[in-house]
Amino acid sequence: MPDWERYVRDRLRIRDVLPERQQRMVRELASNLEDIYGEARADGASEQDAEAAARRHVEDWDQLASDLRRADPSALQPRLDKLRDTLDSAHAAARGPRRLAAGLPRDVLHGIRRLRSQPGFTSVAVIVLALGIGANAAMFNVVDTFLYRPLPYPNPEELVRVFETDEDERAGTCSYPTYVDLASLRGVFTAAAPVILGQSASWVDASGSPREVAVSFVGSAYFPVTGLALAMGRSFTETEDRQGGPAAAVISHRLWVSALGADPAVLGKVARFSGAAVTIVGVGPRGYGGMIPGHSVDFWLSFSALGPVWGEYAGGTLERRGDHWFDVLGRLSPGIGRAQAQAGVANLASRLAADFPEYHRGRNLVVYDASSVRLKPETDTSIRPAGVVLMAISGLVLLVACTNLASLVLARGWRRRREIGIRQAVGATRWDLVRQLLVESLLLGLAGGAAGVLVAWWSGRVITAQAAALSLPLNVTLGVDFRVLVFAFLLSLAAGLAFGTAPALRVTNPALAASLSNPETTVQGSMTARRRRVGLRGIFIIAQVGASMVLLVAAGLLVRAVQEAQGVNLGAAAAARIAFVQADAGQAGYDEARAGSLFRELADRVRGLPGVESVSWANRLPVTVGSSSTLVIDEVKQRTGAETVEVELAWVGHGYFETLRIPLLHGRVFTEQDEVARRRLAVVSLAMAERYWGRADVVGETYLHQGGTTPVEIVGVVGNVKVETPGESPTPIFYYPLAPGDFGRLAIVARGTGQPDTLAAAMRAVLRELDGTVPVVEAGTMADHVARSLSLQRAAAGALGLFGALALLLAAIGLYGVVAATVTERTSEVGIRMALGAAPRDIVAMLVREVMLLVAIGGAIGLVAAALMAPALRSLVLGLARTDAPTMAVVTALLAAVALVASWLPARRAVSGGTLAAIKQR
């Protein structure tokens, strides 16, 4: 007996029906054919006759497939067809506003069908839009997360931030005593909480390896003030607000899940931070990352943990009026508005100025709505323009994408002239046609937007993952939320309108209807039509080239800035041939004496490595964010009246300045004997001498540490280095002599004659030999270290470069398309020119010349726009050149070259190939 199931399966081809439905049909038909065959056999028919009888039941399999497709409920197309028929007749019957209501769904269906029938065009358009909208949604996500997203607290309107302004009226943090005074203001706050934001600590995770985590020190009132409930455990107690009290931690929900596997028995366990034991008493609110939007705190620590975690720096932090560490988050009492609260705290500020003039004179206390503050009011003002710049940049990419699509849609529109002409002839109004074309564009926009959201979601994940690698001071968390979806949706509609409107209006222009009805347009007609067409297309080309130019110039400027910053004189002999290993012996449980001998041994062995010229150590290298100290300098007091100054500080071993080639300008540098001198001798940078004493040679001058009584004597003045960032202006810093055991974490630096990365590897190997359990914090060459500090600029340059390249690619595709279309439409003209004796080369030159003129206009506009935009870009990246002739020249040349190729290729292809043949045919 034949295998009927196979027989049916081989013949039945049903498009558009769900596979399981199709399977069922095959099975059922086979079962029936088998019955027929079986019955015939039972009636005495031969095998062949029985088989033939069964086969006769289905003779036209294609007809059966099409019948089944129409009958099956899972087939989409027949239902769409039916729906469209219904809508068509409803539309035809309707008049006035109802006609619109009836027409819209019909247009949507027509549009879907049209787009489905042109998968090539549709997928190109969707990809272009996905990139354009995706880039914007991703940027919006970043900007919104950091700058605009509402705070996650209940009754956020009651929450305020209180800042203390400095002499320049910049809002900054308060001292702890000031916070205590604020909190005790009667009737203003129901509660207020002090917070030390944006700190990091080295946490020993479950596997025993140290990792950098983001921490925030908060008072016991913090979680009650936020109004957020902890996921587990408790918040801090007042005993834990005091130094000397039991050190307590609340772990973030995120870290609890990611690092501790949501351990239900976490409460009461001990977390280790740089040797300090802190008890975990709670798990933070789910999804809450702390006060800075976009930044995720890993641990909230009690003030009692300050001493253990910060060590010697922590002393007196809660007592001194001069230590401005604290942000204040307050919840206003019922019925109190911000203005009343402001009056209350201003009152306090004048009382403080009277009671403690040395700390509070000229300072004020300012209340801000918590929702208006992201980092600090001061910083916010400088970040907001950066947000605008970022959005503008991604907006340009979308502009290029939209103009590009507009050209494409326009070209398609011309190809549809016939269809449009017919529809106009049978009574469709221009409005009907425009609406139909616009609906198609909007559908494309929405499809592109949906894909764009995926792009944004993906880039959010990438940014979150990369942020750690960027060594940003922020623990960035980005997720696509409702606001991003709404943004992408609106952007999709806008994009659809943007690239659809002009082409829709143009191809339905009744003035062109005459030429549409006549397929054999005259040369005259084609020439006038062309002039108009190039007009609109020309604008598209100018816009694309201009926007690409702006993006490329911006990317070029950033690349230059990064290059220059890397080559910047660090005061450390351009960081050449210097390698270092920074290790944390404290982490491995070393006490002072053992750490001292470990680092001394390490330094000695490194000194013995081949080619090493000089070795030293420091607790902080150049181009590193580190600590500062509050100093009292008589000269400063006399000259400006300022009580104290805040100056950066590094502890360095003898031979440090020689090793890093930081020049000695006056006096002397440290000797080995100085290393016991601790805080009695100092070397200062030229910038420090000039800023606070007004001259370079300050050898023999003294200053005091705030609250200290022993004067520190300056023994030498050295050249400036880049203290925190490569782009900074000369920053004062002073140095103290350091013995290797003074800090558990130390960087050993060495200068050699060989390759610095080989030296760095050798240094690591030496440390591993001495003790493999001592964690290496950072190791490599000084050049690497500087490069890492530039990672943010690099990332920005990379992103802009990517946007620029994308824009250039789109512009090139656009140019190609336009030239190709122009050639096709101007077949007659080209033919006549050739008949009159023009060589193909002349024709190509003519076509390219026309396009390049547009490119030149666009490029010029782009250059002017880029020059205007450069200052805004400077707000994003420090040290960016205002304008840079070489960058502009390179970018212009690149753009011109790409444009030339993109227009020459299709012109040549058309003239040498198809067009010529077509002309000959005529």
């Binding site: 049909m25 059922e28 038909l29 079962s31 029936n32 054919l33 088998e34 019955d35 027929i36 006769r56 039941h57 289905v58 003779e59 036209d60 007809q63 059966l64 019948d67 089944l68 129409r70 009958a71 099956d72 409920p73």
Partner: protein, 112 residues
């Protein structure tokens, strides 16, 4: 005597299927055979026209099919009328009677 036009047959196909399923469940080929038997061999339907009708009627929830396995036989899909199918059949019979009566009247055919 397979001389009725296919248009004519198609128009009444659904009603024929529904009426056959009124008192018993049948599978696809049986339905075709029953039509042939009841019409005294004058109406013949190939599987190719019966089967899409079944799919269509089931999609409209007028009939419901299920696979039935009998020992020693391959499984077959049997259809029966749903309550909606029953109602649809009643109203179609009604309409058919009215329609044929009207057509007959026009054509001047009178039943005895």
């Amino acid at each position: 005597m397979d001389s009725f036009s296919s248009e004519l047959k198609k128009g009444s196909m659904e009603m024929l299927v529904l009426s056959l399923l009124e008192d018993r469940s049948l599978h696809g080929y049986e339905i075709g055979k029953q039509i042939e038997a009841r019409s005294g061999g004058r109406l013949k339907f190939a599987l190719a026209s019966v089967y899409p009708t079944l799919v269509r009627l089931e999609a409209r929830n007028l009939i419901k099919g299920r696979w039935v396995e009998r020992p020693g036989e391959r499984s077959r899909r049997y259809y029966r009328l749903t309550p909606q199918g029953l109602r649809a059949l009643a109203s179609r019979k009604e309409a058919w009677r009215g329609y044929t009566a009207a057509v007959n009247q026009v054509l001047g055919i009178h039943h005895a």
